[in-house]
Assembly symmetry: C2
């Protein structure tokens, strides 16, 4: 498969959307789809869809369109969903527990091995069938289990320290829920989920509509 | 305060970030800051920061910079954080419960009044001090309490139906966690949190770094 390393973040963020729409179509038994039909479903223009997919070596055929399950599988492979990831969660509070309980991540190849917390009353318990361990065991655990992704759902003051430990042990991906920017070396990826910012965007847009 | 209704989504999405950085600075006792210093903290260029803030009627003074708490309060007001919102949560599962338990929303003016669920064994219980009610009471409850925002954290097949009920009762903002696109009239805002898509972006970027 051809890859183009200059793919913009906008295209990259659309890939999981294509994957979702194609998965839904596939579940409904749809076998093939034109870029025009895909445009009606996704809200992206047909030309943008063709352009996006051409970045990865066009999948469509003139007069036929796209094979739904074939395209879905190809995008899954581009995203990296054809492999399994070993994941730990730092912070076993509400958000950490919700993530541990969410079965959808597991079925997509993200296997949560354990949660970690500082609170003694949590350590030894389980969430979603996964053990909560003492945060002081984090480094050793990452080593022993070759953990690749850490979810950080700690209070913000703890986030950078946790990230430093994880990165020093070879973790390459951080899914950060703490409302703070995490500094990492160039070979590590941080993807932020800042729920407050999303909620504030909602309130801004609501206010804007009222004013119109 | 001057408003410009042609403000791009990119600027709008940076506003909550400015608010976060300025809140952090204010907590640390910083009184004033230049756009250059703000650039170092935020990673945005100084010129972008000045441009962004000029959309709302420039707050800085030449040779002085920005007054931190003043600018933070002005942005809070632009975002709409100077008012209170009445919120309900549809779906009292892991994610709905995590949101109900998160005290940060309350302190920002978003008051969760109740959760709603279809599961009989949940109805009557409490999460984060808020009652879980029968989903069939949703419409009446929205009427009675003039609810403005609904959080949808239901399975995807239920999301559109819930949204339709909420919108028909006058809800103007939907914070949607279900992995599905929700259709609403023009005067209603939908802000999506698609956690799967965020996780898949992380895995794509990790894969890309490996390949470089």
């Amino acid at each position: 498969m051809q890859r183009n390393s200059n793919i913009s973040m906008a295209v990259i963020r659309r890939l999981p959307k294509y994957f979702r729409y194609l998965s839904d179509l596939s579940e409904k038994g749809v076998n093939r789809i034109s870029s025009k039909e895909l445009s009606q479903i996704t809200g992206f223009t047909a030309s943008q869809i063709r352009q996006d997919l051409n970045n990865f070596g066009g999948f469509g055929q003139q007069g036929y369109g796209y094979n739904v399950s074939g395209l879905r599988d190809a995008i899954a492979s581009i995203i990296g969903l054809d492999k399994r990831y070993r994941v730990v969660i730092a912070g076993a509070g509400n958000m950490g527990s919700a993530i541990a309980n969410y079965t959808g991540f597991h079925s997509s190849g993200f296997e949560v091995l354990a949660l970690f917390d500082t609170q003694e009353e949590l350590v030894g318990k389980e969430v979603g069938g996964k053990p909560i361990r003492d945060i002081r065991e984090l480094g050793t655990f990452i080593d022993d289990h070759r953990v690749e992704i850490i979810v950080i759902s700690t209070p913000k003051h703890a986030a950078q320290g946790i990230a430093d430990i994880a990165v020093s042990r070879g973790v390459k991906g951080i899914w950060n829920y703490a409302p703070v920017d995490i500094r990492v070396p160039e070979d590590v990826v941080v993807e932020n989920v800042h729920l407050n910012e999303s909620l504030f965007t909602l309130s801004y847009l609501m206010k804007e509509k009222e004013n119109i």
